[in-house]
């Protein structure tokens, strides 16, 4: 009835009933007759629809605070990042090749990199709109990098385990470091640039302008 689970519904009813009993007792203590005291107490429930509507809105369980402030914005950011990867691949966008001092080459996808600030901005903006604090906005904005970092750690761990304990040292840490730099650190910096305008509180901005 009120968008609350049955147990919550019973709690709300019990609390409102207790309030009405208190009102009744207060009126009786002031010398009001029993039936009049009941009538006066029940006047508080005069607009039952308004009460039900407001309670439903306050208690709706569809989404809790953390989901609104963090998980949905983070999901929006990750989804947009995946979409950007797909678009980049579909456009058959050729990477720029940068030769490094150690005779290795770095592949840079400018279009993908230019899109990273938008990912950061999207996550941070959605979180701010939902009332997220600064840390929540930052984490939502950087979530695609967090996911990628977790994926790399899992792959590195799996590779390390497959090499066996004694062979762990054979793992190419240089390659891992380059991967982290190219796939995590640089895109994270770009995402952070996009998220930064939304890390400030809107109220603070109003006060500064005035």
């Amino acid at each position: 009835m009120m968008g609350a689970v049955p147990a919550q519904h019973m709690e709300i009813v019990a609390e409102l009933a207790s309030h009405l009993e208190d009102l009744y007792e207060n009126h009786r203590a002031q010398g009001v007759g029993e039936s009049e005291a009941i009538e006066l107490a029940l006047k508080e429930l005069a607009d039952g629809r308004r009460l039900g509507r407001r309670l439903r809105k306050a208690k709706e369980n569809i989404m809790n605070e953390r989901t609104r402030k963090f998980w949905l914005p983070a999901l929006a950011s990750v989804t947009a990042a995946c979409f950007l990867v797909v678009v980049t691949a579909q456009l058959s966008y050729k990477p720029h090749i940068i030769l490094l001092r150690s005779h290795a080459a770095a592949l840079v996808y400018p279009l993908w990199l230019l899109g990273q600030p938008l990912m950061g901005a999207l996550g941070a903006y959605c979180s701010r709109r939902a009332g997220g604090n600064r840390l929540t906005r930052l984490t939502a904005g950087l979530f695609p990098s967090i996911v990628m970092f977790a994926a790399i750690c899992i792959v590195a761990l799996a590779q390390g385990l497959s090499l066996g304990r004694g062979e762990f040292g054979r793992m190419d840490f240089t390659m891992l470091a380059r991967a982290l730099m190219g796939v995590i650190v640089i895109p994270s910096a770009a995402m952070l640039m996009g998220a930064m305008p939304f890390l400030r509180d809107p109220e603070t901005q109003v006060l500064v302008r005035n």
């Binding site: 009460l51 309670l55 306050a58």
Partner: protein, 113 residues
């Protein structure tokens, strides 16, 4: 003569009124309503339809916490107290209202009314 503030204006102040009250002492619904009315000299009054949705919204935000307790008469009541997050929220909220009143005073000269 007691003059009640119009509900449209009063509604915006419910959050501050409840948090300020609970910062002094934890309390239950009808007591909160009574104390707000008394401490405001009758200017503010929140009925069931205004008070409880606001209390539940504050609880959802983590600023207040409600807990059932049996009172001396044996009837269970749900007592609300301010959480550390709510206590942290109170000072900026007071500043915000202070800023608002000063701005309104500059604009409409309310202090001379």
């Amino acid at each position: 003569m007691k003059k009640r503030i119009r509900s449209k204006i009063a509604r915006g102040s419910a959050e501050l009124a409840i948090l300020a009250l609970l910062s002094k002492q934890s309390s239950y619904g009808s007591e909160i309503s009574k104390r707000i009315e008394e401490d405001s000299g009758g200017a503010l009054r929140f009925d069931l339809a205004s008070l409880y949705p606001m209390l539940y919204a504050l609880e959802k935000r983590g600023w207040v916490k409600g807990r059932w307790q049996a009172n001396r008469a044996g009837r269970d009541r749900r007592y609300y107290c301010l959480t550390p997050a709510g206590r942290k929220k109170l000072a900026p909220l007071r500043q915000e209202w202070n800023f608002f009143f000063k701005a309104l005073d500059r604009l409409a000269g309310v202090s001379d009314a």
